[in-house]
Amino acid sequence: MRADKDNPDKEGHHYALWGLIVGGVAFSFAVYRATSKALSKVFSAIGKTPNSPSADLALTPAPAVAPEPHGRDADRDIEPVSRSEFEDRQRVGLVFVVSAFSAAIAAGVGFLFVYWTGGSNMLLGGTLALSFGGLGAALVLWAHWLMREREAVEPREPLPSSTHEREDASKEFFAGERQIHRRKLLTGMTAAVLGTFAAIVISLLRSFGPPPASFMFPAVWKRGQRLVTGTGTRVSMDTLEVGSYVTVFPENSIGSVNAQTMLIRVAEQALRLPKERAGWAPMGYVAYSRVCTHAGCPVGEYETETDLLLCPCHQSTFAVLDAAQPTSGPAARALPQLPLYVDQDGYLCAGGDFTEPPGPGFWGMP
């Protein structure tokens, strides 16, 4: 179905159809329960034979143990019924099974109609559900009402083989094996060849990807690279107001995953950067890597009132004023900071690379 053809107002119809199906199923089941007893009486009244049914009991083997009331339904011994009673029951059951099959067929036809006239997903699914469900219900009702339930008791064979069988098998095996293990040199060489195959298979894994060194320590920013926004606009001193932020990239790699950076403007006097990063935030512009050090999601949420960067994935918070130290949540390391300076044209430039490789941690992290 075309997206624009689907009117969003159909939402109410979804609920209506859901309600209809659930209600319909519940209603059918209630009718089924209510009428089964009544129908049994009706059918037995109609089909009652004048003969006593005692002779028919021979068809039903008496259970080995007298039935006792049990807690669990399925473990109950079968209640024996006479043949004529069972036939009455079958007449009742036939009504139910036929209704279920008819519903299934009707729904199936309905599906075909909806499909060929380009109908909605709702109707397609609803009709298919009724069709499948009708067939399933019909089969179960068939088992309940039309089939004789007989409890079977069988012995379980012991699973371990007998001593005799085991001896036979091991004799056969060792008779052949003797011809192999006497040849110590050859078995040793077989092992050696298999060992080389194992080494080959493990080595072939190398083909699946480049050596880590090629992607683990990317040089993302270089000194002197200008910061640009996603649309390519260079960042100057009046691009942001205090309490604003923008995502920036190096000038020639917009969209770079590793280089994506959050550029935030805060009140300069509020910053509490460590001494060695004193000049890194001209006019309150401070830049941190946007890749979360926890699991690599872009840290896209900036909260102005609390000056926190919040990662939406696992809710780690980083304090913008304190060199992006993690203040809560599962992240353990601060976001790497990017040193900034203003070049002679008034544009913000990177003063070097990030303090650490951006992104989640790994064993070889410096």
């Binding site: 997206a3 996603g230 699991a295 064993w363």
Partner: protein, 465 residues
């Protein structure tokens, strides 16, 4: 017609005796024995709907311009896989239905496996001789988890793309070999050119082949060993009581099959799932909150959120904080699952005899208490995985919710274990006193077996309560 076919095949395959034995095969029928079948039939539907969708999917992450019927995205550069999924959803008749049925079937498949596992655990069905099937079953669960994850990550949307980045970070965090593993599995920093094609191959071929083979083995072993029974009259370790395969059990099982199909079709038609057009195409510089994986990975997601940020430097390297909840926790949980029958045999019930009659939950207080505590612990993690959705819905602070869940992670399982253990012991004592009285009155109900525990269970005629 059937007669002709039967004779034709029998003349070539010697089938009559096997068929006769098969028709007579006894299946104990209790409703709780059907959970595995729900999983099996969902798997069948997954294969059927998956085959349909595979005819439309474009398994590459290369960028193309979207030109389909969803107007909000027309003209944007999207992964080709994403475009094919949108094409299937909007422009292929019944395409959206099949796609949604596939995804719902996956959720139900894994849920049914978990329900089945719970039933097995609480009735101690993993005891000898069924340890093999238990191990196969846990393996099936792990494979299903991976396959589901790869499946929804194929669409190339923003939500699953975020999940990929998290998975990459988890693999990277493994000490010493993490970056090599990440390179082998992902081909570099996700998303690479091979990410989608590789996941596709795993999702439609490698893992389903292993699943199918293991499921066939699983069923074959059940057939061979015969199913277990709940305790009851006539049910011993040497006899099996139930109904025959043909025709009753066949009808009921096929009925369940189509009812499962019906439920999944109803969900697929009426409840929207994974609307990738709302999330937008994958973009490593964008993100959205409420980025959860599918439900069956919610426990790992919750652990990732709850585990505090600890910096661990040992032997000259960094062990990142996500290593513990992302790698060690799942390894520990699955190792425990695999080993449980052997641990239980060695230390708890100290019993290596074969059992074909199940143990009821209250007859094994330690296992039941442990199982309930583990379940509650995982439940806390599931809640933690959706803590931001809870926070937004209740208008509460996610930080507070996180702190509460951190405490509950330790307190709730401990309390549960104590309560359940006490409850089981009480119930056991009560039923023993009932049994004692009854056994005095009805000696003929004592089944003749060697195991005194067995005798008592079989002799029970009325469940307490």
């Amino acid at each position: 017609m059937i007669g002709f076919l039967a004779r034709w095949f029998d003349a070539r395959l010697h089938l009559a005796k096997t068929a006769r034995r098969a028709f007579d095969h006894v299946f104990p029928d209790h409703w709780s024995f059907m959970f595995g079948e729900i999983a099996l039939y969902s798997f069948v539907l997954l294969i059927i709907t998956g085959a349909f969708m595979a005819m439309f999917f474009d398994a590459t992450g290369a960028k193309v311009s979207y030109d389909g019927s969803f107007k909000e995205l027309v003209g944007i550069s999207v992964p080709a896989a994403y475009r094919s999924v949108l094409h299937l959803s909007f422009d292929v008749p019944a395409g959206l239905l099949v796609r949604q049925m596939h995804h719902w079937a996956a959720l139900i498949f894994i849920g049914a496996i978990v329900a089945h596992l719970a039933r097995l655990f609480f009735t101690a069905a993993y005891r000898r001789p069924r340890e093999i099937n238990w191990i196969i079953g846990v393996t099936l669960l792990i494979l299903a988890l991976f396959n589901g994850y790869f499946g929804y990550s194929l669409a190339g949307d923003l939500l699953s793309g975020s999940g990929l980045r998290i998975a990459y970070a988890i693999v990277l965090s493994i000490p010493l070999i993490g970056s090599w593993l990440a390179s082998i599995l992902f081909g570099g920093v996700v998303p690479t050119d091979v990410t989608i094609p590789r996941m596709y191959m795993a999702h439609i071929f490698v893992i389903p082949a292993m699943l199918a083979a293991l499921v066939a083995l699983h069923l074959g072993i059940i057939w061979r060993q015969k199913h277990t029974n709940y305790p009851g009259p006539g049910r011993t370790d040497e006899t099996i009581v139930g109904s025959r395969l043909w025709p009753t059990y066949t009808a009921k099982s096929l009925g369940l099959c189509f009812l499962v199909f019906g439920f999944i079709a109803a969900l697929g038609g009426l409840v929207q799932i994974n609307p990738v057009w709302i999330y937008g195409p994958d973009n490593p510089t964008a993100i959205l909150p409420g980025a959860q994986p599918d439900w069956y990975l919610g426990w790992i997601e919750g652990a990732l959120r709850l585990f505090p940020g600890v910096n661990l430097r040992i032997a000259g390297g960094l062990v990142p904080e996500i290593f513990f909840p992302g790698v060690l926790l799942p390894l520990f949980v699955f190792a425990l699952l695999y080993a449980y029958p052997f641990i239980e045999k060695a230390f708890i019930s100290v019993d290596d005899k074969p059992h074909n009659v199940l143990r009821l939950p209250y007859e094994q207080p330690f296992n039941t208490a442990f199982g309930c505590a583990a379940f509650i612990c995982l439940l806390v993690l599931f809640f933690a995985g959706s803590d931001d959705v809870i926070a937004v819905t209740l208008g509460a602070s996610v930080v507070t919710i996180r702190e509460i869940l951190r405490i509950l992670f330790f307190v709730a399982p401990a309390v549960t274990a104590v309560v359940v253990y006490a409850g089981c012991s009480m119930w056991q004592r009560r039923s023993e006193s009932h049994r004692h009285l009854r056994s005095l009155a009805r000696p003929e109900f004592l089944a003749v077996t060697g195991d005194p525990k067995m005798k008592d269970s079989a002799a029970r005629t009325t469940l307490p309560g």
